[in-house]
Symmetry: C3
Subunit: 390 residues, 3 copies
């Protein structure tokens, strides 16, 4: 299928929606935003590794400790450097095919070994991407403008001094928007009712939230943050302004009660942030905050980057956190609990992948925060990724 | 690929054909007809099972012995109930995602456990399908009108009292129309010339039928049944009005003779019935009738539901039939003989899947009954299934 | 996807290119040319074998030593004879489905065993293809006109008397044009720098060629042969008119030197010939010439037919050549050396498969011979294969 005729998003669907058209268009995510693509420890000095972000193929490398990123496609015949990376000097990469050689820092074509007299040398430049490491993650600014401050594209508090971060990364088979909505969805707690996290960590989660029309009318169920400066996002306040459901009823009869593992209270405040990150505070323990990203990979998959943050006063506390992370939190939370989210996203993908799901779906009262997020994302993004950008 | 731009049938091909346009359109089968989707024994009490019919995803359940069928897609976010069926009362199913709860009988949204105060409750209704069990098969009326009598959508005699039915079900990789034509095709007997059924059951089948122009002109080679009431179908009379071929000749020389296993006569009368069922009387033995369905699954596959019927006077005779079915008829007939039909259909699929096969094919005299079937199906159906119906 | 709406080549891309439009269109190769499809030894007497050429399905057979080729698709219901070839006489093939019987030599429908009285007999004709064996290869003339002399569609010298030919055939996952360009590409030698052929056969190959603007201006770097009669092709003269690169430099520092296995000189003259064959003279040894074809299979794959030719004076010398071929040349050259070309082609496919690669690529000075080839192929072909031809 050729690219000009390959259609990313159904135009008819975009036209039918008046409220968040750019959200529908953003199947491949947003441009001019920071996205985490991997953990810093995944990139060793002088060993290029590839990454896919918003449909673009990137190649990352670490040089004297600093991370650099270039487009993983030679200008000459379009092959991927990553098929056989050849770096003859620390600062350059040479295409395995015809030895076009580029600088990692600015993408300039500095040499062509197979024809050192070529006039092309010095006249061409490969696309490069600004990379920044923070809290153990490698962020890439995917775009065409001067990079914005990273702090505006991560959930509040993530970069705080004294906050130790640990996490894992997975590829999941759904569009990133499906994933973001699953995470921010107040009533999807229903799928976690049997999670081993509940007994293991002596906690409790409700089956849902009984919304009240009066409360809803007051507009208190969510709060949009869309300031000129700083991260843009939406807070879900349903936990504070609606009654938690503790009895599942059908035809007036109670048929289901949530498991109660103990009295630890978690997930008091949930918020979602551009370009696609969730903050669950606290989670999965009163002492922790979960920050997670739904990073567009291609149309039908995303990188699920899950991290936990803990305030630590010194190295010894950070070591203890790492021990707990390895022994409990990864197993109970990031896997045990969130594995259910993963299959829920994959189950949703079928309905939304032809775009018509955005029209055919029938949202209900607790989904108000999701709609607010769609509107914010549609309006506050710095650009939508298109096929022409690839 | 999105649905609005996904094309089911090539319009250019439909326009080129003046005689049976709706048959070409019916790639996903017909609406407002009864189709068998599985055997009754495949549905246990209170254990939902999924089925695909004419491109639609259904979920079936048995409640107090009676079979119910609903669309396998929650109205809220479009996920399939079948990913994790949760039934908290006998009469309802609860979506695993947000606990929207529907009644099996009328599809009404009777509760939402995650928000029991939602205004959606009682205001929405899931698509349901009328189900009817007969002779061990579960039939679904796929459509929008009041179900017609089942007897009008099955081959004559199938529902007769005293007729015991046994059978098997298989998924086959061809469009249902290819399968139906293979079954009703007079001269496809050629592919069965080496079948083990012939020696095992002491029978004989010819290599083909030598048609006579005079006989053909009289219009006796097939007979269309298209009455207001009752099943609509076509009888193939070529066996009665054309000479069976018992010598295969090339350039005047006999190069092939049919295997003669004995003198049992089978397949005397073959007929095809809307919406897509074949009756071969008798087959594979003078004491049996084969009734088989080619049920549309999706564009490129069908359920091949094969049954044998035998008149029995009492339970003991039915037990004996079951014994023979298990020991002989399934092995010699439904598998040994019909397995050749299965690969023939799959071999035809390639040529017809882009619709152009219907134009490029070159039919010959014995195919008259097939053309009559196409015309009947094009005119006598109660609706054509389209992508919008999914 | 239906054929009428299936798009072979992006029209927008074709329009953007003014210089070699037919080359862009020729995704499935050219019509009215001779292509080798297999080795003669692959076709035994009376044992039909299938082949795919330029998207068409063919069936080949050997009768009394001579090779015949027909379209592998019955006129009646479009099935492939090759699913179960049935030949009841030496000169005919009978379709396994309804016993339509065709002559191998002219494709005429001479009998229908299932209805020997059919009026179709003698009135229809299957597509046949002229086949010719030469040097152990079976060539097919794929087209509609009177076959041209084979000698005009093979590299000069290939058919010479006294030249023994041995070779192998492989299916490779790239379009044939990508393969042809990889073979004719002067500077792709860079990928062979570590080939075991170099030390094993005591030879040397440079890293590339330093082009000179004056030499380039003189137009000596390649030479087009486009005579009315005889093969049409392009000679690459870069080896004679540009300085071989023997030091790979980055930022003025030598970072790479070619391996020097010995002083045997190979690949002195490289030329490409319509409809898609390469001649490397000598290769992989001063005593041998490599002739290889990139035969269109379908849009995304080609047959890579690799042969070596050696002048022999008698049978004993041919036997010795065969021994060397089996012990050395196949292993060191056709596999050891050319395996790198195979993965390079597959790596290029991604960029060109949507046609936009032909626009987005950035060629450099040594690619002049490739551009000359594209222009020749665009102008000198006898027709472009289209979807309608299938």
């Amino acid at each position: 299928m050729d690219q000009s005729e390959r259609i990313l998003v159904n135009e008819e669907v975009v036209k039918k929606n008046k409220l968040w058209p750019n959200f529908i268009k953003a199947k491949l995510g947003f441009r001019n935003h920071w996205y985490p693509v991997m953990f810093g420890k995944e990139i060793e000095e002088g060993k290029p590794v590839k990454a896919m972000l918003c449909g673009e193929n990137l190649l990352l490398n670490r040089i004297d400790g600093k991370v650099y990123a270039i487009k993983d496609r030679c200008l000459h015949r379009g092959v991927a450097f990553s098929k056989k990376p050849e770096c003859y000097t620390k600062e350059t990469i040479t295409c395995w095919y015809h030895a076009w050689t580029y600088r990692w820092d600015d993408g300039s074509l500095c040499d062509i070994m197979t024809d050192p007299k070529s006039d092309m040398i010095g006249k061409h430049r490969l696309k490069t991407y600004t990379a920044q490491e923070a809290k153990g993650l490698v962020f890439i600014f995917l775009g065409d403008i001067e990079p914005t401050p990273l702090i505006n594209d991560v959930p509040p508090g993530f970069l705080d001094e004294g906050r130790a971060i640990r996490g894992i990364k997975r590829e999941v088979g759904s569009n990133w928007r499906i994933a973001a909505e699953n995470g921010f969805d107040s009533t999807h707690v229903f799928i976690h009712k049997d999670s081993k996290l509940i007994p293991n960590n002596e906690t409790v989660i409700p089956l849902g939230f009984a919304t009240d029309r009066e409360e809803e009318a007051k507009g208190t169920l969510w709060e949009v943050v869309n300031n000129e400066d700083g991260p843009k996002g939406v807070y879900d306040n349903i936990g504070q302004h609606a009654v938690p459901v503790v009895e599942g009823k059908v035809d007036g009869e109670t048929v289901l009660r949530p498991v109660i593992g103990g009295d630890k209270r978690i997930a008091n405040q949930i918020s979602i942030w551009m370009p696609g990150a969730l903050k669950v505070d606290p989670f999965p323990d009163p002492s922790l905050i979960q920050f997670e990203w739904y990073v567009p990979r291609d149309e039908n998959s995303h990188w699920y980057i899950q991290t936990l943050g803990k305030e630590v006063a010194n190295e010894a506390e950070e070591q203890e956190f790492e021990k707990d992370f390895n022994e409990k939190w990864e197993d109970w939370g990031l896997r045990g609990f969130n594995d259910d989210d993963i299959w829920a996203r994959e189950a949703m993908e079928e309905f939304y992948k032809d775009d018509w799901g955005w029209i055919k779906e029938q949202l209900f009262e607790p989904d108000g925060n999701i709609v607010a997020w769609r509107q914010l994302a549609s309006e506050a993004n710095r650009g939508v990724q298109t096929l022409e950008d690839l």
